[in-house]
């Protein structure tokens, strides 16, 4: 029987952390999916920025994205090119939000071992009982021919305890 959707690794934070890293990702799957529930401790805002990258150093500029977002009042689209990470503006929940509310993210990374550049599909939502709630869909890109073996998800401060991250591998055969 096919084992199509397999948990590779998970991390539920028992204390705050600036970032979460999945490393030594095996190359035995077709696609990857990262599910995350997260809140951060930076500033006073209701929402803040989330970042995703596939290079440990953070010094290169091989990431880019095109973002589509709506906040209950209006829709917008934006772009960042040649960046150190894929950024999701308003993609996580900050200290200004209702207590115990978290953002939800799905990152779908198809063909992560291919020798082509790597697309990423991002689905993100925050609803915090505030006057605005964000729903975001983004196209991400990592311009690199290497297989993805590391994923780093971060923010402008620290993820709070209780934030959780699950990385799955998907097989298409």
């Amino acid at each position: 029987m096919a084992n199509t959707y397999t948990l590779i690794s998970s991390n539920t934070l028992s204390s705050s952390a600036a970032s979460v890293t999945f490393s030594a990702i095996p190359s035995t799957y077709t696609d990857l999916v990262l599910w995350a529930s997260h809140r951060v401790d930076v500033g006073v805002r209701v929402n803040d920025q989330l970042t995703l990258r596939f290079e440990s150093s953070g010094a290169n500029t091989n990431h880019s994205h095109t973002q589509l977002s709506g906040n209950g009042a209006s829709a917008a689209s934006s772009r960042v090119s040649s960046n150190y990470a894929i950024t999701i503006d308003e993609g996580t929940v900050g200290p200004g939000a209702t207590s115990n509310t978290f953002a939800t993210s799905q990152f779908y990374i198809p063909s992560y071992t291919s020798s082509a550049n790597k697309p990423v599909s991002i689905d993100n939502a925050t609803e915090t009982n505030a006057t605005t709630a964000w729903r975001i869909g983004s196209a991400g890109l990592w311009r690199n021919a290497s297989a993805i073996s590391t994923i780093i998800i971060a923010n402008n401060g620290n993820f709070v305890a209780g934030s959780s991250f699950y990385l799955y591998g998907i097989n298409n055969s």
Partner: protein, 164 residues
Amino acid sequence: MPSTYEPIATTSLSASTSTITFSSIPSTYTDLKFILVGKGATATNVNLRFNGDTGGNYFAAYLQGNGSAASANYQSSIDNIYLTQAINWSDTYPSFLEADIFSYAGSLQKTITASTSGDYNGSGFATKWVGRWASTSAITSLSITAPSNWAVGTTATLYGIKAA
């Protein structure tokens, strides 16, 4: 352990083609998920059809962003579901499509949600769709067409999801 998420069929193109079709879809699942990673659809609309139906039986609403502005529209009684609207898919960078097709074997009309996305480091798009196929027939085939060809290496996979 029950297997609730199974690949039904997959194809990776060894020659360019305008239409990818999955046929003889079994009715043994609850929902379908369709994944495509593709290049080379360098024209406007990428079209999704079921059971070869070319009648005006599709309805859809979409929200789309191109990096500078967002747009939305509703389309009724059209002959397919446009999974991107007036967007050029890159020949250089792969783009992505994820579609969920709910209760595809039931006798009710069929609801489809889809996301398409492609970032090309300076251009690109992200789109969210909801669609309806106004047919009570079970879905037994699915076709996705690019006005110009899908490039070699384009990969498409159809998964079945079981509720129990």
